[in-house]
């Protein structure tokens, strides 16, 4: 269903627009604890930018930028970041996700350690949501066929 578009307007607009969408997504993730937004919304916007890349340039070109192996790696990496920060807090004799205990290894005040801990959690959530959103769209649009079967 999805093939590379030949229209120069579509190709140029999406090439110009994708970096700005990703920059906005990073802004949403990084400011998640001050303003509306957060890891989930920023991850969805990152995934939407990858979907725009996919419907404009087709699966072959997109797979050069982000392959299916790296999608799997990203989705596991986000869960690892999330649970890793939680387990580090457990090892520092706190509760699970008790960010205040991170001040011992980050050498900052407990309030700042909480802000940094929440930022780390949101980065992890953003990684997983981006990879999963892209993977769902990729699988629906390719019909679940393995990549070798598609000859564009």
């Amino acid at each position: 269903m999805i093939r590379s578009s030949e229209d120069i307007i579509i190709r140029t607009v999406s090439r110009v627009l994708v970096p700005f969408i990703q920059l906005f997504a990073l802004y949403v993730i990084a400011h998640g604890h001050y303003s509306p937004g957060g890891g989930f919304q920023g991850g969805v916007i990152l995934g939407a930018s990858l979907v725009l890349l996919l419907i404009t340039y087709g699966p072959k070109e997109t797979r050069r930028h982000i392959s299916e192996k790296s999608v799997t790696v990203f989705s596991s990496l986000g869960v690892l970041i999330y649970s890793g920060i939680g387990v580090i807090c457990l090892l520092l004799l706190g509760n699970y996700l008790d960010y205040g205990k991170l001040s011992g290894i980050l050498h900052v005040a407990p309030a700042e350690a909480r802000a940094l801990g929440i930022l780390g959690i949101e980065i992890g959530v953003g990684f997983t949501v981006m990879a999963i959103m892209f993977s769902i769209f990729f699988d629906i649009s390719s019909g679940g066929k393995p990549p070798e079967d598609e000859k564009e």
């Binding site: 949403v28 509306p36 989930f40 919304q41 995934g47 939407a48 769209f137």
Partner: protein, 81 residues
């Protein structure tokens, strides 16, 4: 909170919801559903739930519409009933 604005947006939401389930062309139904979630997003923002409005705009109007369009292209465009 402005009651007149609330009322207008609510009317648009109801019109979009009824149109989305009555239209025969499934691609049009997906488009109307995207408009529905955008009006819902306006309504959340107007009622002060900006975080919910952001989630509605990015998830439902952004990714959800694209996923449903992909599903329509994989199946059929005409509704049978």
């Amino acid at each position: 909170m402005i009651p007149a604005f609330d009322f207008v947006i609510l009317i648009f939401v109801v019109i979009c919801a009824i149109a989305a389930i009555t239209v025969k062309d499934l691609l049009s139904a997906v488009m109307i559903l995207g408009a529905y979630s955008f009006f819902m997003c306006l309504m959340w923002a107007e009622m002060g739930a900006v975080d919910v409005a952001f989630t509605e705009a990015s998830v439902s109007a952004g990714i959800g519409t694209v996923l449903l369009i992909a599903a329509v292209y994989r199946t059929t465009r005409r509704s049978r009933d």
